[in-house]
């Protein structure tokens, strides 16, 4: 992503907005899919991410790359949605994603099928994503960015605003936790 696009975005160049959406949407959607594990919710979050980018691009100081900044917004939006889902609190930007009468999430994440997984891996990926869903928040973010989006650890550190060592540790712990969960699933499947 050429960095001069930032100047065009700041100048309100509509072609630059469209170019940004076209080039970055897959990255945003894939990250959101990995974190919230629901296609419709991930698509809604993708739109919210770009709205946030357009709104606050003027404040973007270039401390990180544009892609890293967009990843950070994506992760924050996903975590807000997941927290809302968990605690049932109201967030203005995301209320449209919830039923007005009950406040429950419109979209269910059970039996999530990532659209990018090859057919022969679908069953395994479904089991893995179910286990990932149970990970603590920061381990989930580090694991998804590293394994699903293939983001380098240095960039994950910038996205999560932690050290590279902390990222390494989070991924390691996530893998250990996932192995434990998978061991239990394996035992239950054998019964």
């Amino acid at each position: 992503m050429p960095e001069h696009i930032i100047e065009r975005l700041k100048a309100g160049d509509e072609a630059a907005y469209k170019e940004l959406v076209d080039k970055q949407q897959q990255r945003v959607l894939n990250t959101a899919l990995g974190l919230v594990q629901n296609r419709e919710l991930a698509e809604d979050i993708t739109q919210e991410v770009f709205i946030e980018v357009f709104r606050s691009v003027e404040k973007f100081g270039g401390q990180s790359t544009l892609a890293t900044w967009i990843y950070r917004i994506t992760v924050n939006k996903c975590l807000d949605a997941l927290r809302y889902q968990k605690r049932g609190k109201r967030f203005a930007f995301i209320t449209s994603l919830f039923r007005q009468d009950t406040g429950e999430l419109k979209y269910e994440s059970a039996h999530f099928d990532h659209p990018g997984v090859a057919l022969e891996k679908k069953e395994n990926a479904r089991i893995l994503f179910a286990a990932v869903e149970e990970l603590p928040e920061n381990q989930k973010v580090a694991f998804v960015l590293s394994q699903v989006e293939d983001v380098p650890q240095k960039e994950i550190a910038q996205i999560m605003d932690i050290s590279v060592k902390a990222v390494e540790s989070l991924i390691q712990r996530a893998k250990v936790n996932l192995r434990k969960k998978l061991e239990n699933i394996y035992i239950n499947r054998r019964k």
């Binding site: 469209k18 076209d22 959607l29 993708t46 739109q47 990532h114 891996k121």
Partner: protein, 102 residues
Amino acid sequence: MTQEQDREQWIEEVMASAKRIERPMGNPFLYEKIKYRMQERGGPAYTFGKTKAIGWALAAVLLLALNGISIMNKIGREKHILHTEAYNAIAPEMQTQTIYNY
């Protein structure tokens, strides 16, 4: 293959299933959808509903007006008390008090 080996192999396969996932196809109309959503909300500066914003603004103006009226009343009352007290204090010396001596 022992059960333990089988379990390890299965776990490895499951763990590897998230690697090299293809990114989902992009939506060619996504920008239009975003534009529509922004317009629906009243432009990029939108943070919450128009009605809500007007309501809050009116409430703030009303609150300020009530505060102003209350302050003006208080000042007026205090001025009156001060004047009366000062008048009463100097009245005997000035002999300006009316003495009804029937």
